[in-house]
Amino acid sequence: MNKKQISITLGIMCFLLTIAICVQIRTTNLANSTVSQTLSDNELRDQVLKMKERYDNTYREIENAQKELEKIRLTATQNDKTAEAKEQELKENNMILGNTDVTGDGVEIVLEDAKASNTSLNLSAQLIHYSDIQLVVNELKNAGAEAIEVNGQRLVATSAITCEGNIIKINNERIGSPFTIRAIGSQELLYGGLSRIGSILDVIRDGGNTANITKVDDITIPKYSGVISYKYLKENK
């Protein structure tokens, strides 16, 4: 056994080893930054990470399946005028239902809880409640908003805005202050409807909370990430 051979093998082994160590360190670093670092919660942390991973994987699978479906639909409707029209209709319906990302001009409203230093007698008024969000959304819809999103959650026909103790849930996802509500629609109507004196934003501001509305061009509102399923619906013949 000559020395050259030995050193080459050892070098290759060390090479493999350092690759593995680097990958491992990066993985654990990521895991630590995602969830809390206390040692006693290690088991729970493990479980949370594994669940999150499984969720992400499943979500990716769904996305891939949707892409596949889109592709199949495209090839099936090629060279067919009526099918193309149907395809267009399908696309428009998906846009309205919240199944695709949409862009357009609109407004952005930011609601934020009052600062702790604010000494108002009515403590409850210093928080943004789920009802405030409901009212804002309602006003937006009244002013003709075509797509609405709250902290990344697209509002669709089945969306509920609920109060779960100290957090608010939309589409069963937890969201917290500050709330960014974005809506696509006529900028003048939306802005005018919500910035008038005595509007819901004025009421929210009364408690010491922050409520700002700005016109924003080219808002992108993400699609609804859940699945709209039904059990009791039947077609009316």
Partner: protein
């Protein structure tokens, strides 16, 4: 020569490892135990090189065999709800210390001898003068 190869391997490995895709968290426990096993093999390899009884076949089979075996044992332990990986860590780290001790002794002896020689040379020089 050997240490140049090791350092070179480590540097290239680190550079590639930083840019590699991350593995999923579920498998990082297995990778950790495989790393310990491989680290033990490398130290064993260095120690046996110093002792001049290095065998390539034993080294390579130990490197991969130990890693794979420890992963399998960890997996089995998870299925049986016993922390077998603890036993693997104890064994591997114990051996690692043994090998490190061999390496340490070798160099201390080597340098000790060299120092003695230098002292002798100095003494003889002084005697001449």
């Amino acid at each position: 020569m050997i240490f140049i190869a090791i350092v070179l391997g480590c540097i290239i490995g680190a550079l590639i490892g930083i840019n590699m895709p991350m593995i999923s968290y579920t498998y990082s426990g297995y990778l950790a135990i495989a790393i310990i096993a491989a680290l033990d093999s490398v130290f064993g390899g260095i120690a046996s090189t110093l002792n001049k009884n290095f065998d390539l076949k034993i080294f390579v089979s130990g490197f991969f065999g130990n890693a794979i075996l420890s992963i399998l044992l960890t997996y089995l332990g998870q299925k049986l709800n016993v922390d077998i990986y603890l036993a693997a860590i104890v064994v591997f780290v114990g051996r690692m210390f043994n090998n490190l001790a061999i390496i340490r002794r070798y160099y201390i002896e080597k340098w000790g001898k060299r120092a003695e020689k230098n002292v002798e040379i100095d003494n003889s020089n002084n005697a001449k003068n």
